[in-house]
């Protein structure tokens, strides 16, 4: 199962899980991702050391999509 994960005060929470062979789970994950993006989150797929990709649509093939908040200079 692939996971949509949000970093939060608990460490992280799994917002949605989907399988590439299960259209209903994909639909639910797409809706969950859309909600998070609309609330200001940034979705990222980590692709190993030094590599990550920001996504605006659910990458069905990814194992994990991580939701982070925008950063700011201190």
């Amino acid at each position: 199962m692939s996971r949509l994960v949000r970093m939060d005060h608990t460490g992280h929470s799994t917002i949605a899980e989907w399988s590439a062979t299960d259209p209903e789970s994909i639909e639910a994950a797409v809706a969950a991702l859309r909600r998070e993006l609309d609330s200001g989150a940034i979705a990222v797929v980590s692709e190993g050391e030094g590599q990550a990709r920001q996504v605006r649509e659910l990458p069905v093939e990814a194992d994990m999509v991580i939701l982070r908040r925008p950063i700011a200079g201190g």
């Binding site: 920001q54 908040r69 201190g74």
Partner: protein
């Protein structure tokens, strides 16, 4: 994004580093000059000259301290949240980086601009060659996040858009690595040494 700032690149970073060094020299040289002239004119004024020389030393040290402060650890969240966040962070980095993070709390990450040490509320960038360090103050503005998540936010931002992170971050210090090394806690020094070694290689 901070639209009023031009997007950072290697050239702008080098320019800011040189400007920072120039500013440091401009702060220190007048104190040293006046101390020398004063002592030459009146040797009995040596105590005043000593104070001036101390100021010439202390001001750059304060700047280096400001730079080192960006990688100070922040208050911890609950143990369970910390554990979960460090687990996620561990999934994002390789074995060596995970080991170094466990020992120092800093994640080493190679970028196009140099070698990064990512902390909870800032990051150090060691330039290729390992001699100069830029200290950036940057964080996710959520105080409730556990430490691993705060680091993971910066790490993912860095991986996604390195120049963007440099553009958003505030430069707290730029200068010689040895000056920053003296101002960070002993526990963090192995991470800076490892980053310098990686930057040299």
């Amino acid at each position: 994004m901070v639209h009023w700032r031009p997007r950072a690149d290697r050239r702008s970073l080098t320019r800011r580093g040189r400007l920072w060094t120039l500013t440091t020299v401009a702060h220190a040289v007048p104190f040293v000059g006046v101390a020398i002239v004063l002592t030459a004119l009146e040797p009995l004024s040596f105590p005043v000259s000593a104070i001036l020389l101390a100021k010439a030393w202390i001001i750059p040290e304060l700047y280096a301290q400001r730079g080192g402060n960006v990688v100070r650890t922040r208050p911890r969240a609950g143990p369970e949240a910390e554990r979960r966040s460090l687990g996620l962070l561990g999934d994002l980095v390789g074995h060596d980086a995970r080991e170094l993070a466990g020992a120092t709390g800093l994640v080493l990450e190679r970028g196009r601009l140099g070698v990064w040490l990512v902390g909870e509320a800032g990051a150090l960038l060691v330039a290729p060659g390992g001699r100069r360090v830029w200290c950036f103050c940057v964080s996710v503005p959520d105080r409730q996040l556990p430490s691993g998540d705060r680091i993971a936010h910066l790490l993912l931002a860095l991986r996604t858009d390195e120049a963007g992170l440099v553009t958003v971050a505030n430069l707290a210090f730029s200068g010689a690595r040895w000056r920053v090394r003296r101002r960070i806690s002993r526990a963090l020094r192995p991470a800076l040494d490892a980053a310098a070694a990686a930057a040299r290689g």
